[in-house]
Symmetry: C3
Subunit: 348 residues, 3 copies
């Protein structure tokens, strides 16, 4: 895609200083700006790059005063960062808009319902009675099982897999390799040491605006649903076990894992590689540092760290002593010596 | 699928109290029972839901005595939980039985042998000389490499990948995104700092009744086999490196990782996010708590926790002192003061 | 494939002792050698197997002196291990060479450029303007997005996924389920607690000779590139976040995770399940033990362990005290008693 400086300025309600007809085909950071791209200057720390950047067009704040001559064409806007973000959103929408129609070969079961504006890539599979909402983008090699519902404007990237009966909301993004609705890890131990599989007949419900990272797995409920509430963002390679529930607008970083039936509240921030035991209740607005181990319930608003996790301030104190354990041991040995001497003195 | 109360009762050898002709199309938990579904009451704690549930049919124990009127149709059986589990198994078998035949387009190399009763989904790939046993279900987008053998009644879910030469037993279940037989992580360091790949020419052998979770990876042996014994259950996102061996009926939770050539015994229970160094021998009936780090061999029957792992009781004791390290430090500082005073007194 | 002893000897410049015409179709370890396979003896520890092995052909060192009669055909070479490794490389090259041509159905956009000697498996997808180099092997169900460049001799195993605009060097190997170029985990918190997605418009650059393990994920740059330098080897199930950079010949074990914009130097060795915070700088030749937590920059050449990580020697000292914390606590309690007694004595 190609855009002229004057068209960008019109969209942003900005003013062009320089060549109105110059074209850009991509974006770059101002510090490594390339010809034919658009960059922005928001942070004054980067001002020097304004005068040296090879970017063809640079967005700057209206108030900004040039100290030298600039070779790039400038567009003055109210807020250069916001304007740049708006352009990116427009660019991605335009790009996504190009993906439409059904590529062949693909498999759409005759009982499936597919609405308007949909893209279905080659080798994608849509099962029985599945419902695909408006403007949904289903990339190549995606698997949508029987009875799955996919809400409007949702994007399923290449090779993501949705098992039977799952429900995906509007505006969700599911990245490649993510698996939604595989069996929960439930087995009944038998007297002979074998495990008998417990049928996993529930599903997964993703509410609206959920993003699921690459190769993340969300298991179905044993019965009932594993529920990911509106606006939740999961990073890559996360495990969410059967019957978990993750509250609205909670974000979880990569490689974290939740055991079965654990519930996490709203607006929580969970670090990478954190592990949760099963059947826990974690409150709202909780923050958990990376690599923590959570084996107990956590109340609203707490900030915790460590394995097992304690309040952050306490964790920091513990850690200071921990790092100095050899010195502490020496102190104790020294005390033992001194007391021995004192006792000896007393005896004498 | 749709079942009448009287047909369910016949199958379960139970007695219908209410409308014999009422139909159910699914199941639900008694506490959130929905019309048209079947639920069960086993735990007396949930008795109140019996009188309020909207489930159309509820299984109860023969001995159970009603305290109020119930609007649902009841089926009295010897053991409501067992009966429910039996129904679920029947339901899943019936559902699986519906998947049969070969969907198009799919790729089955002409040298492959495919037995009776098999389902092969669209976009599945069966390589040269592969052997697919009876009643195997191969979902869409599965990859079965050259010379792979898949035993009877095994299920390969959508998008699972089996590299060349691997052997999958009877009655196994491999979930979406699992990768069986990728190259082990073996490289020979060169003088110039580069790594030369060591050819990985072994395979993976899964014995019967193994379940492999979504996006779990089991690498092939460098030479020889990586072996997962009968009845092993692996959760999601687990890494099993080259030439490992996991003993019969051992279960491992999500995000655990085994380095190369480590052997784990039978009937072990391994928690989530546990890490094993390479070349270890872990005995039978060992239990390992979550997030543990295993760097030494473990004898039969031990229960360990921590990184590095120690016996569970010891780990708990250590943890109590650990959580109180700042207080211990204070105690030592206090002791130092007191001894200084004592010494001063002695001098005076 | 089938090889005669005399042809193997010719290739290795070795001497046959026994049946020149005997054929082998595979390889085995000498300790579990099977008829029809080739094994080698390099380590004298395994000498006894030489006399009992069922392998049909065994490579031995020229200097080696037989102590008993051997039933296998022997090939004497300068260095049996090197010879065996050379044979394996030859075998794998021969095997790879058999994979060529384009299987149907596959999807190659008409604007894509595909060079000579390429294998494209069934259900593989090659997007717009993609460039596929010479002798590249693209296995079934691989996804290559728009504008992706894949260098010569690279192998993309079944079901690996490359998002738009990524650049893959020469001689790379990407295993099944790996996802290259998914969106970075970037969201702007809003006043109402929701998160607004920050457009992720960068890409991933893999330089030459990079190997990416099964189900590993490398996110694209938010802007600019996530860069994996020449010769880097990543194991399975690793997370590399947006805008990270991993230096030449660095190797990382399974289940490790890097948060955004962290840079790791050259020739580092990183253990399994290690976690890195974001925006860090790790030097060259750094070694990090498994399960470590890295929250600070690390200088060249350091060897660290622990969470948070400290120098290995210090970590070992800390760990010794840590494992004996209950005894240390007892020592302190004992000291408290003794001081109390001393004070009491003084008072009296």
């Amino acid at each position: 895609m190609e855009f002229k400086a004057k068209d960008i300025a019109t969209f942003l309600n900005g003013e062009v200083i320089g060549d109105e007809e110059i074209k850009v085909t991509g974006v770059s950071k101002i510090e490594d700006g390339k010809e034919g791209t658009l960059a922005f200057l928001a942070n004054p720390k980067y001002e020097s790059y304004l005068y040296s950047s090879d970017a063809s067009v640079i967005l700057i704040n209206k108030q900004f005063e040039l100290k030298k001559e600039v070779s790039a064409t400038l567009i003055k806007v109210d807020d250069a960062y916001q304007a740049f973000a708006a352009l990116l959103d427009l660019y991605l929408q335009a790009k996504a808009g190009l993906k439409t129609g059904v590529e062949q070969p693909s498999y759409i079961n005759e009982s499936a319902v597919v609405k308007e504006g949909v893209y279905i890539g080659a080798f994608a599979y849509i099962g029985k009675n599945a419902e695909i909402g408006e403007n949904v983008k289903i990339y190549p090699q995606v698997y949508v099982g029987d009875n799955v519902v996919v809400g409007d404007n949702t994007v399923l990237y290449a090779g993501s897999k949705i098992y039977d009966d799952c429900i995906i909301g509007n505006g969700c993004i599911i990245h490649s390799g993510a698996v939604i609705g595989a069996d929960g890890f439930g087995f009944a131990p038998q007297d002979n040491g074998e495990y008998k599989k417990i049928a996993q007949i529930g599903n997964v419900v993703l509410e609206d605006d959920v993003e699921i990272g690459a190769n993340t797995t969300v298991d179905c409920g044993t019965m009932g649903s594993t529920i990911i509430r509106k606006g939740v963002k999961l990073d890559n390679l996360i495990q969410v076990a059967h019957n978990c529930e993750i509250g609205k607008n909670t974000v979880i970083a990569a490689l974290a894992g939740l055991a079965g039936t654990t519930k996490i509240g709203q607006n929580c921030q969970i670090g990478g590689q954190v592990g949760f035991a099963g059947h826990l209740a974690v409150g709202n607005n909780v923050k958990i540092g990376p690599q923590s181990g959570i084996s107990k319930n956590i109340k609203d608003g707490r900030v915790v760290l460590g394995a097992p996790a304690v309040d952050l301030k306490e964790a920091i104190k513990i850690n200071i002593v921990f790092r100095n354990l050899p010195a502490l041991r020496e102190d104790v040995i020294q005390l033992q010596k001194e007391i021995k001497e004192i006792k000896q003195t007393e005896k004498d």
